[in-house]
Symmetry: C2
Subunit: 454 residues, 2 copies
């Protein structure tokens, strides 16, 4: 029986690791360049740290770790005989795998608050685990790449995150991304103006369909959801919402005159939009999207979402926003935070589709020394030592061929690993070097060999 891995998990081959690390390194480098500091937290946390932080659905999707030893000893007999899985869990499991990086970060900030200099800009790139039903592009183990700032309410952070998205995607060669931005205060303002904050989600869901079902369709859906004709009238400009970000901001400002919070949202967005206009972006476009409402109950200010270049069909490849009371759940009040996240798996798929991995160096030797004659090995190993000291990846095929068949096996190794240069023989410090791409063969000294292959 062939061994397998749990569903929703993945093995990564060396080529996949190399491509993934390429993305990680670009993100890491940009995070650090922008002043974010790396932290790492344990893979599992006390269950009490995680449970209740992601809603009922989230609690169900958290992987729980069984206590060690005679764990049933402490479990209640009656609950066991009733097979009450939910209540028994708390008695036989004290630890759980990290579900995201945000709650562990909040826990970290509170636990280490006396050692941290605020404002604290941290980044964290680690795997998380969710017992979700696996499907295409959705895994039970996947990496999150988060950057957050806590301890500052300055809008400069919001500006910097737009620059950070632009920088990372430009460096990855992912040109033509759209950074969508919205502000929770604008959404609250709309709720105020339409007269019912409980209708806000229905409202934005309907509005989001404008492209597909047109103004009439949207109005019809809103009326069906119980939003009054009068209210719809007040936010009518949203149905012909187009033009530049400045046009949209002007429309919003006019529309939200009756909402102090809404106007505050317009002002905040205007600051970000104006500053980004001054600074310019390398390859992304910043677009005000008033239908953007991800994590509505969570965010209190800016909301971000990044769409892949239009030629690729893919969900969002990044997102984030400002939350005013992240650490409150662990008892530290009034610490505002704002952060963004990069969706590694989707970025990987987009880059694969756009052939953007071509420049990534794959993990294979620049030159392979064949092993047909054991007496040459000392010279070959000495040469390899020298090459490696010069950071030129090189290898000697380990087993000496004692037959034609074994020689063929070595040539097969060269082709299946796609190795470009091969040294066949060495005699008196003269190397026979073969270029596998054009088939050319030359004899050269070690110094010449270094020049040719690097």
């Amino acid at each position: 029986m062939k061994p397998s891995i749990p569903k929703g998990t993945r093995d990564f081959s060396s080529t996949e690791v190399a491509k993934r690390n390429y993305i990680f390194n670009v993100i890491k480098h940009s995070f650090e360049n922008f002043g974010f500091q790396p932290i790492e937290t344990p893979s599992f946390e006390n269950s009490s740290t995680l449970m209740g932080k992601y809603g009922e659905e989230g609690d169900r999707l958290i992987f729980k770790i069984l206590n060690s030893g005679d764990y049933l000893n402490k479990a209640d007999e009656i609950l066991l005989s009733e097979k009450n899985s939910q209540k028994v869990t708390a008695q036989i499991s004290e630890k759980a795998l990290r579900y995201d990086l945000t709650v562990p970060f909040a826990r970290y900030v509170v636990q280490h608050q006396n050692d941290i200099t605020f404002p604290f800009k941290r980044y964290q790139i680690q795997p998380v685990w969710r017992a979700d039903r696996p499907q295409k592009g959705r895994f039970r183990e996947f990496y999150q790449c988060d950057a957050d700032v806590v301890g500052s309410t300055s809008l400069l952070q919001e500006i910097e995150f737009v620059q950070l998205y632009d920088t990372v995607f430009s460096k990855l060669g992912l040109h033509g991304t759209t950074i969508k931005i919205n502000n929770r205060k604008i959404l609250s303002g709309i709720a105020e103006v339409i007269g019912a904050s409980d209708k806000l989600i229905d409202f934005t869901v309907a509005l989001d369909k404008l492209d597909k079902i047109g103004k009439e369709g949207v109005v019809k859906e809103m009326l069906e959801k119980g939003i009054s004709e009068n209210a719809i009238e007040k936010v009518a400009p949203l149905f012909s919402f187009s033009g530049t970000n400045q046009d949209k901001l002007n429309d919003l400002e006019a529309m939200l005159q009756a909402s102090e919070e809404g106007l505050k949202g317009v002002e905040e967005l205007r600051t970000v939009v104006n500053m980004i206009q001054e600074l310019g972006l390398a390859s992304a476009t910043l677009v005000l999207d008033v239908t953007l409402a991800r994590g509505l109950n969570y965010y209190t200010g800016a909301i971000y979402e990044v769409a892949a270049p239009k030629e690729v069909k893919m969900g969002s490849i990044g997102g984030g926003g400002r939350y005013d009371d992240l650490t409150g759940i662990f008892g530290l009040k009034d610490v505002s935070g704002v952060g963004i996240s990069f969706g590694l798996d989707r970025i990987y798929l987009v880059m694969e589709e756009l052939n953007l991995f071509e420049t990534v160096e794959l993990p294979k030797p620049r030159v392979l020394f064949l092993n047909f004659e054991a007496s040459e090995n000392l010279s070959k190993i000495k040469a390899i030592k020298n090459l490696r000291e010069n950071n030129i990846k090189s290898e000697l095929y380990p087993d000496t061929a004692t037959s034609n068949k074994q020689q063929k096996k070595q040539w097969k190794y060269v082709s299946s690993r796609g190795i470009e240069f091969v040294v066949t023989d060495v005699e008196n410090d003269v190397f026979v070097l073969k270029n596998m791409i054009n088939g050319e063969q030359t004899t050269c000294s070690l110094a010449e060999l270094k020049k040719i292959i690097s």
Copy 2:
């Protein structure tokens, strides 16, 4: 109530992450330079993959993951009412956290055998989890850094691993390590000569005390363990075992004349020792240590262990060896493997003790722009954009100071983060730059600023 993390786990601050990554990067770079390819496997495996591979003790120390949903549904009522923890585990848990990287690697090789080009040189740097009792230097979550070759019986691998240890520790500045080497076949030879393979462990344990209790003490202990006087006589040279590796090999060869396997071991070690003598090592010393017997039941050829420089008291900082049938447990026979491992946590402690982290760049900006005057911010952000494009880490303090107290807070931020350069003001593209180490203040253009701080 302050939040906490499970015992045996750790949070890593940005300084700790920077130092750890420094070690990881040196190891990674050397692994790749030597031709090893990275792979990654899931954090949890099917329990059937892990259970029974590490002995009874190992099975107990594996962290098990509770099945999702109504997991008790499938559990046997009688076992539940008996609170039979061990038997219930198999019914309520199908997955378990990785215990080491070797078994998942074996599983990977078998599962992907058709996609792998053999000999396969892989490296893997990932965390593992063990429900061990936590104590100083022993954690429940820790990283392993493994390099292995499977599919070749060539001794060139054994030679290369000695070079690899030497390269990594030399690059880390850890001069004076001792790479101890032994061979399982020599130990088997000794067992043959003393006439009882079941006494081998008693024998090596006693022999290992030679330094402390002298020849007489060792002989006494061996006799007590039931090793005959006659047998002890035959391996007497081991009691005065000293001199060069060559001396030791000659002694062993004379001693093991009656054991074919023992002589094979001597021949293998001689090949490695001679080749390393030819090639030279940068900072490590290769020492034949016949008492080295780690994982005796596991290894079949070479056995390695690395001792830290003598000025530091620390257990082994690396180890490994050859195992002839790694993948047999998953049904793929006759694939020989050899590998080594680096002990990250101990290497970290040794480097800390020897002050070897001094050159590691800590995650902080090269220059901080103070924020005392909001009207200057656009100029400052433009300058920072330019600096970052030139890979000079720089930051603007996010909140504008509106009082003396808030200005002081910014200066405090500078000192607690140990920032070297500070820009206080900008006017007409002229920057006021302060060197916090010598207190000097200069006015300069952006181009001049770049030169000064880089």
